[in-house]
C-alpha cells in the first residue's frame, strides 16, 4: 500500500517536472525573442522598407505585407482542399479511395518543405509563371498547409458524435445538409484550430519561399513578381555580418511571432462568437 502510494507520488512528480520542461522551453524562446527583438521595434520598423547596410533606419514593411498576402492566398487555396478531403474521408468514406486520399495527405505531410519548394520552383517558377513570384510562394505554402488542415479536421470530425448524424438523417436530411448544418457547426472550434495550426506553420516556413517568392526589398502586391516574407527577411538579416542587421533579425522574429499570434487570436474570437 505504501509502495503504491509512493509510486503514484513519484509518477506525479516526474510528469509534473517534465511538463514544466515544456513550459520552460516556451518561456525561454518567447522571452529571448522579446528581449532581443523589442529594442529594434519602432513604428518605422513596421512600415518602412529595408535599407542597404550603412543607412540608418529601415524596416520590414514589405515582409509583413508579403507574409500576410501569401498566407491569405495559401489559406484560400489550401482550406477548401483540406476541408473537402477530410469531409469526404469521414462522411462518405467509400473504402479504398478514401484510404488513398488519407495516405496522400500523410505523404505530403511527410515531405521535407524544401522538396515542396524545389517542386514548385520547377513547376511554376521555371515553368508556368516564368520567374520568382509571390504566387509561387503561396502555392508552396498551400501544399504544406493542405495535409495539416486535412488531418486535424479529420480528427475533429471523428469526434462529432454519430448520434447527431443519425438524428439529422432520421429527420429526413440529405447527407450534404446534415454535414453543412450539423457536423461542420459542431466541429467548428476544432476546424478553426486546424486552420490556425496550418496558417502558423506556413507563415513560419522559409525553405519553400527561398526558391519561389525569393524576397523583395520593395513593397510589392503583384503576385507575379518576387515578394518579401518575414522568414526570408529574418534569414537575410541573420546571415549578414552586421550587428545592426542582427538586431533587425531579432526584431523581425518578434514581428513574425506577433503576426501569427494576432491571426490566431482573431480566428479564435471569430468562431467563439455565437452563430
Amino acid at each position: 500500500m505504501r509502495r503504491r502510494r509512493f509510486a503514484d507520488a513519484a509518477a506525479a512528480a516526474l510528469t509534473g517536472a517534465l511538463s514544466l520542461g515544456a513550459v520552460a522551453i516556451l518561456l525561454l524562446v518567447l522571452g529571448h525573442v522579446v528581449t532581443r527583438g523589442a529594442p529594434a521595434l519602432s513604428l518605422a520598423f513596421f512600415v518602412e522598407r529595408p535599407l542597404p547596410f550603412g543607412e540608418v533606419g529601415g524596416g520590414v514593411g514589405p515582409a509583413v505585407l508579403g507574409t500576410i498576402l501569401m498566407g491569405a492566398i495559401a489559406a484560400a487555396l489550401a482550406i477548401p482542399v483540406g476541408l473537402g478531403g477530410a469531409v469526404f474521408v469521414v462522411e462518405y468514406r467509400s473504402g479504398r479511395y478514401a484510404d488513398i486520399v488519407r495516405s496522400a495527405a500523410e505523404t505530403i505531410a511527410g515531405l521535407p518543405s524544401i522538396v515542396v519548394g524545389v517542386f514548385v520552383w520547377a513547376f511554376l517558377v521555371r515553368g508556368v509563371i516564368g520567374n520568382y513570384a509571390g504566387l509561387a510562394g503561396a502555392v508552396a505554402l498551400a501544399v504544406i498547409m493542405v495535409p495539416i488542415v486535412a488531418r486535424s479536421t479529420e480528427e475533429v470530425l471523428r469526434l462529432v458524435p454519430g448520434s447527431l448524424r443519425e438524428a439529422a438523417l432520421a429527420l429526413g436530411a440529405p447527407r450534404w445538409r446534415m454535414i453543412a448544418r450539423v457536423v461542420l457547426p459542431t466541429a467548428r472550434a476544432g476546424i478553426a484550430t486546424a486552420i490556425v495550426l496550418a496558417v502558423a506553420r506556413a507563415a513560419g516556413e522559409t525553405a519553400p519561399l527561398l526558391l519561389t517568392a525569393l524576397g523583395n526589398v520593395y513593397f510589392s502586391t503583384d503576385p507575379f513578381q518576387p515578394m518579401a516574407a518575414l522568414p526570408l527577411q529574418i534569414y537575410q538579416y541573420a546571415v549578414s555580418p552586421y550587428d545592426d542587421w542582427h538586431a533587425k533579425a531579432w526584431g523581425a522574429s518578434l514581428v513574425l511571432v506577433a503576426v501569427i499570434g494576432t491571426v490566431s487570436a482573431l480566428l479564435r474570437t471569430l468562431v467563439r462568437r455565437p452563430a
Binding site: 468514406r93 458524435p161 448520434s163 447527431l164 443519425e166 438524428a167 439529422a168 438523417l169 432520421a170 429527420l171 429526413g172 436530411a173 440529405p174 445538409r177 446534415m178 448544418r181 450539423v182 457547426p185 459542431t186 467548428r188 452563430a275
Partner: protein, 286 residues
C-alpha cells in the same frame, strides 16, 4: 405522500387510462405499418428473420426482448435508418400507409419524412438553441417557411412535447443546457415537428431518472391520440404501462432475431401463449 408514491400512483392511473381507452376502441383501427417477411443483415451476418407484424394506427406498440434480439434493428428498418450503418441491409416488405418503403424508386429521405425517430440517449444538436432544435426538421429538409410559420411550429410542437412552459422564457439558450429529461422531450418535439405518421422510439427513457421517465411515458400516451408509436424498451414494466400491443423478439443460437409472440399487451403479459414469452416476462432469462 412522497414523490415516489406520487409517481407510482400516477403510473397506476396511466395504466388504467390506457386500459380504458384500449377497451373502448382497441380493435377498430387501421394498419399504420405493415411488415411482411422482413430480414436484416450486418454484412454477412443475419440479425433478423421472418418478421411479420401489423402495427395498428394511433396506438403504442412495444417491442421487447433480451439484448441482441434485434429490437433496435427492427425499429431502424422501419425508417430505413438500418442501412445507414456501412454494410447493413434489409429485405422484405414494409408498408407505411400506402408507401412500400423498400420498393423500387422509393428514396430513403422520402421514407424518413413519414417517420420520426427518438433515440436512447437524448441528442439535441448542441450548436442549436431550443428554438432551432425544434425547427430543425423543416430546416434540414429544406422546407421554406416564414419566420412566423416557424414560430408557430416551434411553439405548437414544444407544447405537444410538454416542454413549452419550461422553456418559453428563453427559447434561444442552447438545447444542451436543458436537463436530460427536458432534452429528450426536446428531441420528441423535434421528431414530431414535421408531422410524421409514425414515431419510432428506441428506449427513449432508459437514460433518464424515474420522474423524467414518467413524464416521457405520459407524453407517449398523450401523443398516441394522433400518432402511431412504436417503442423499443428493455423495461417490461414500461412496456406494460405504455403500450397497447407488444411484440416479443428472441434470437436463436446463431443470433438471428425472430418474433416469438405478438398481441395485445395485457394478454401477452398475463396469459402468454408461448412458453419462451412466459419465461422472459417472469424474469427467468434475459
Amino acid at each position: 405522500m412522497t414523490l415516489l408514491d406520487k409517481v407510482t400512483a400516477a403510473r397506476r392511473d396511466l395504466a388504467d387510462r390506457r386500459a380504458d381507452r384500449h377497451e373502448a376502441d382497441g380493435r377498430s383501427r387501421g394498419v399504420a405499418v405493415s411488415i411482411e417477411g422482413l430480414g436484416a443483415w450486418f454484412r454477412q451476418k443475419r440479425v433478423l428473420a421472418d418478421v411479420s407484424l401489423e402495427v395498428p394506427e394511433r396506438m403504442v406498440t412495444a417491442i421487447i426482448g433480451p439484448s441482441g434480439s434485434g429490437k433496435s434493428t427492427l425499429l431502424r428498418c422501419l425508417d430505413r435508418m438500418h442501412e445507414v450503418t456501412p454494410g447493413a441491409r434489409a429485405e422484405g416488405q414494409v408498408r407505411i400507409g400506402d408507401v412500400t418503403i423498400y420498393g423500387p424508386g422509393i428514396d430513403a429521405l422520402e421514407v424518413r419524412s413519414l417517420v420520426g425517430m427518438v433515440f436512447q440517449k437524448p441528442n439535441p444538436f448542441p450548436t442549436m438553441s431550443v428554438y432551432e432544435n425544434a425547427a430543425a426538421g423543416p430546416r434540414l429538409r429544406g422546407w421554406r417557411r416564414s419566420r412566423r410559420e416557424l414560430d408557430d411550429l416551434v411553439e405548437r410542437n414544444l407544447r405537444r412535447a410538454a416542454l413549452w412552459d419550461e422553456v418559453k422564457d428563453d427559447l434561444h439558450r442552447s438545447g444542451a443546457d436543458l436537463s436530460g429529461g427536458q432534452q429528450q422531450r426536446l428531441c420528441i418535439a423535434r421528431a414530431i415537428a414535421t408531422d410524421p405518421r409514425v414515431l419510432l422510439m428506441d428506449e427513449p427513457a432508459s437514460a433518464l431518472d424515474p420522474i423524467a421517465t414518467y413524464r416521457i411515458e405520459e407524453l407517449i400516451r398523450e401523443l398516441a391520440r394522433e400518432i402511431t408509436i412504436v417503442i423499443v424498451t428493455h423495461n417490461m414494466q414500461q412496456a406494460s404501462r405504455v403500450s397497447d400491443r407488444t411484440a416479443f423478439l428472441l434470437a436463436d443460437d446463431s443470433g438471428v432475431g425472430r418474433v416469438v409472440e405478438y398481441g395485445d399487451t395485457q394478454t401477452l403479459f398475463t396469459t402468454p401463449s408461448d412458453p419462451r414469452t412466459e419465461a422472459y416476462i417472469t424474469g427467468r432469462f434475459g
